[in-house]
Symmetry: C3
Subunit: 278 residues, 3 copies
């Protein structure tokens, strides 16, 4: 039996997520539903793109991912369903899927047309649930829409590289629960430009020359614990999703501070990498 | 196998919701539990009434809804179980069910008396779980309580209509995750008074003369996108629960603003509708 | 089939909890996963200790509890798995389990060593999931680690008693969703020192001489409701986890106020009990 996941901006308080689950179980009593997140910032398609890209891979092949962000149907915002990497995705054609699709070519994309006459302000409940259950029952994408080959891009996803490849200019894509600052610079992208050169990462007035594999590689455990002052200090890692991340050791925005609060880094801020001549 | 839903003010951090689920699975390993919300404002029975009314209908017939808001047993706050619209509800007799019951007559109401000697500050765990599992096993309400015919009303649920029916005076019932402002004026109530007349909706100094079916009906898609300025502008819809809602297009309290933040509308504030003479 | 519970500081927004569930279902499609909390304050092992201690007992014997707080593997922070009270716990050896272990002796503790070569900044996904599934399939702890007999203690968990046993000095351990202030003084500990004596509880300038069994025992229901002024007034109870708690009747930090907001009580603040001479 397939899994249906939910990624939305419904929040934790409203009835929207609960009602959606009720509707799914009404159609398919035995299905499994997993919440990925209901706390995406309202209408924030970049955040949703980041979350779904990092979460989907852990699920079994065949999982159906419902993404409910800015999904009201209108002349400029159509509903789509995709098959990609043996997973299914149902969402509005508003750029959410362009981050994943920039790395993996979709096997199939359809623009959903089973519902052209449904007037609804709650399309996740009234449309996406039906599409998800159709797929879960083994139905094909062709039955529910017409094949398309292009989806809408999302802006500012790809970092900029200058002409002589001495600099990458990226930006802040996501700020996580620890206040760590995730950039749009992926490890594979960085390494293709770096070609082994030394580098300096700049974010506002902060500079970093090392990228760690995990947070505590930053700590020198040969110094006695009471003489180290690691907590609250900045560092750079490639995070578990392979994005370059400016972090703070044992970060907590409410106590020792975080990369976001201590360095004043916000969504869309610039993070640049300068490569040094050999 | 039945579904048990949970709607509480336990919050997302404390152990209360987890412990409740553990207790249910200890009694019934195969049951399905669905969270509707644990983020109702503490002791806010009106919010809980709004959430459960909007969520329950999506679930299959026979679902058992546990509502844990202000549920400590005392001389003035008894525990009840209801059967209504082929769903079961377990909660305190504190007004939460009066919103649903004003529209649908309960088939059965009992005041729970199996536990008169249990002293507990966690009645959801110690009482409601037992009642829910009793019902899930097919037990009847009569076994766990004595039949009653009245439940406590909730205040300020029904809007006021003046004598010559030229005005409805409603109030703000709920503010949702997008900052949209939900009033206590339902579509059926509005239409019964309106009888096709033109109208003007007033909330503080803001006036509206149109009620949309969905949010993006507000947008004129014939104007090029870069010449429209729709985001952050106010509009009125009947929301997916059929409540009159003052909204903001692509609302986000933290960025473009919301109906609540931009118009200064809070819980219990007045929203009135004046009908115009033909 | 066993249950796996999750208690983490991942927050509600990030993909970490969703990805963890996807990985578990990929290994064991039929398992049941229950969220206890993902909103522990980042790196706060005391909060996690309090939450898991209060939640685990409600689950069936054999449940596997994954605790993802400060769990990155390094020279000073090893991974452990415990069997205790017929439940399994998987976490870092950072003090989280010392609160439970101070009351119940573990049957078995192992330091996990199956993964000494895995470099990961997401050990819950890459290590704890594998260990949890191993146990869920009936595997033994000995296979995944070497037996140890001691775990790291957590600081400030046990209250202080003065020499002539006339005073207990405790501290604030947790502030719950209602703003109620939970101390580290347990009922059994209190009663062992009290030996029936009268007492006075002090928190800042506030004094209490009664400990209630449940919140509404504080109310005198013989006084007509409109002449009582109970909401927002302070009281002391032993809460459902048997911890001494300074509460406010029908508490809500955002409206009537809470013990934390009204009395200015924060984590680690002192709460003392003076016993009176007979």
């Amino acid at each position: 039996m397939a899994i249906i996941t939910l990624t939305t901006d419904f929040g934790e308080k409203d009835h929207f997520a609960g009602a959606t689950k009720g509707a799914i179980y009404s159609e398919m009593p035995e299905i499994r539903i997993v919440d990925i997140s209901h706390s995406i910032s309202p209408f924030n398609t970049s955040e949703a793109a980041y979350i779904i890209q990092n979460a989907y891979r852990s699920f079994p092949k065949g999982t159906i991912h419902v993404i409910g962000i800015d999904s009201e149907l209108n002349a400029e915002n159509k509903h789509i369903a995709l098959k990609l990497d043996d997973h299914y995705f149902i969402c509005a054609n508003n750029g959410i899927m362009s981050m994943i699709c920039s790395e993996i070519v979709p096997e199939k994309i359809v623009e959903i047309n089973i519902h052209d006459k449904i007037q609804t302000s709650f399309p996740v409940l009234d449309v996406f649930v039906k599409v998800a259950c159709h797929i879960a029952r083994g139905g094909t994408l062709e039955v529910i829409g017409k094949t398309i080959t292009q989806i809408k891009p999302i802006k500012n996803i790809v970092p900029y590289v200058n002409e002589d490849k001495s600099q990458i200019i990226g930006s802040v894509l996501y700020i996580d629960n620890y206040g760590n600052v995730v950039t749009n610079i992926k490890k594979s992208f960085f390494e293709a430009i770096q070609k082994g050169r030394s580098f300096e990462i700049s974010a506002r007035s902060y500079k970093f020359k090392t990228i760690y594999k995990k947070y505590s590689d930053f700590v020198n455990f040969e110094i006695p614990e009471d003489k180290r002052h690691d907590e609250g200090r900045g560092l750079v890692v490639f995070n578990s999703g392979s994005f370059l991340e400016i972090a703070v050791y044992k970060s907590n925005s409410a106590t020792v501070g975080s990369a976001s609060t201590l360095m004043g880094l916000n969504l869309m801020d610039t993070v640049s990498i300068n490569f040094l001549k050999d």
